[in-house]
Amino acid sequence: MNRRVFRRVKSNAMVGLMVVAVVLAVLPLLFILLNLVAKGAGSLSVAFFTREPVPAGETGGGVLHAIVGTLLIVGGASLIGLPVGIAAGVYCAEYTGSRLAKATRFLADVMNGTPSIVVGVFAWTLIVARQKHFSALAGSCALAMLMIPMVLRTTEELIRLVPNSLREAALALGYPRWRTSLGVVVRTALPGIVTGSLLAVARVAGETAPLLFTALGSQYLSYRLNEPMAALPLTVYTYAIGPYEEWHQYAWATALVLILVVLVLSLAARLATRRRFTANG
């Protein structure tokens, strides 16, 4: 009886500790979000999403240029980074023991730990310094360089979670190896790969440092990938270090918009990949 009481107390204490850890993990996030809403929501209006900025001193205006810029730059980065990252991840998982896979895995881990500003400077020397001008495309390349190792490692880990028995079942049915990998193994891991890719997109959407040296930022709405372009994090940065009280308000609001954009992107991708058993392939 005594033992049982002791066990129950111990069990509850452990569960309690875990709950405390969860609260500690979630609390800062909640504070950031609440703070953003409290300070930024006041400046939000329809015009904030649909208009370009106005000169300092005037009121009104919005961050349409930065929303468009972020979508274009991050879109470009995803077009480069996701296919390369996923393909390399599939390779590392399917040819686990090969020397190339081991080297790639090691490099990806090192890259994952590299500060993003280093990637920015690298993209600057590689692209901007040679072209002699800043461009959105250089920004996309810098962000893609950040995405690739992230996507690579998550893809690899998720594919390795697929039981080998499934691979054997497909091969025993006469599947060629490529079809086993893509049609059965990768397809089984796909929901996880999509989630991992989304996380990578969301993370680079908020990156500022790599864009400082590449896309540079701009006050105007632009669709030209070969020219400097605004992006939400850059706009937050510009407004936040600006001298005007109104700009500081805008910085909060822009940060809130950034979070909303990432949220909408995630929801859209989730919805697009959810239906699985109604579609008869």
């Binding site: 054997e168 091969l171 049915l173 006469g174 060629p176 058993f277 392939g281």
Partner: protein
């Protein structure tokens, strides 16, 4: 037995993992439309032997063989033979049910058929229904063919895997302990199925369960430490084994 055509045979087959010999010098023949049980203690090489028949063994790191596997008299390890084509003629069902989790019940059964060519919807429907009927699963799933295969019970999943294996009409079916993860009810249904399937296919079944071998098979082969100790008609192996080791194993004195 109506006819006694040798369908599948091995000639002095040795299977290795790197330098380790898992199967030593085994020569056996399997007659068409019979059920052939491979028995023996864990690690005796019976599963490895089974996997050499459809060239699954070579997929393991370091897996290689010497000797011959003959399907209708032709060496399946000849350079001109494609392992993929071979595996469409020699189907396999594993110990644990392995339905493809992203596919519906229907798509699982159709998976092998879609490999080779475009199949018309009507033909596909027909083959899926016939395969599910043959694997005694049709009545349980006919109203939910579009449902996930993972929604089925373990026994149903295993019958689904059998349906998937027989759908492309292979000639030989290899069963690697197909009932090891099933309850008695599920086991019984699979055994009844095996009995039905031999009318159309030649079956080689690895089993740990001696009663199962006795119940379903026409011939039984006893493996021990990688060697084939004894082979013969099942009744004879279980009543009058020639080798002392065989008798010791089937009476449960070791293994």
């Amino acid at each position: 037995m109506a006819e006694s055509r040798v369908h599948l045979a091995t000639d002095r087959l040795t299977a290795m993992y790197g330098k380790f010999t898992a199967v030593k010098d085994v020569s056996l023949t399997f007659t068409a439309n019979t059920v052939n049980a491979l028995i023996g203690p864990s690690g005796c090489g019976k599963s490895t032997y089974l996997r050499t028949l459809n060239r699954m063994h070579e997929l393991v790191d370091g897996g290689w063989i010497t000797g011959k596997v003959l399907l209708d008299g032709e060496d399946v390890y000849a350079p001109k033979v494609s392992p993929m084509q071979l595996r469409r003629r020699i189907g396999m069902v594993f110990q644990k049910p392995t339905p493809f989790p992203t596919m519906s019940i229907y798509d699982n059964v159709a998976a092998g058929l879609r490999l080779e060519r475009r199949v018309s919807r009507a033909e596909l429907d027909e083959v899926v229904e016939r395969s599910l009927r043959q694997s005694a699963l049709w009545d349980e799933v006919k109203d939910r063919l579009k449902a996930s295969a993972m929604a089925l019970s373990g026994g149903q999943q295993q019958r689904l895997c059998i349906a998937r294996t027989i759908a492309p009409r292979p000639e030989v079916i290899l069963l690697d302990e197909p009932t090891a993860s099933l309850d008695p009810g599920g086991t019984q249904r699979i055994e009844e199925l095996v009995f039905e399937l031999k009318r159309e296919f030649t079956i080689v079944i690895v089993t740990h369960n001696m009663q199962q071998a006795a119940r379903v098979s026409d011939t039984t082969t006893f493996f021990y430490m990688g060697s084939m100790i004894e082979t013969g008609p099942t009744r004879q192996i279980f009543t009058r084994p020639a080798q002392e080791q065989t008798e010791a194993y089937i009476t449960g004195r070791f293994g």
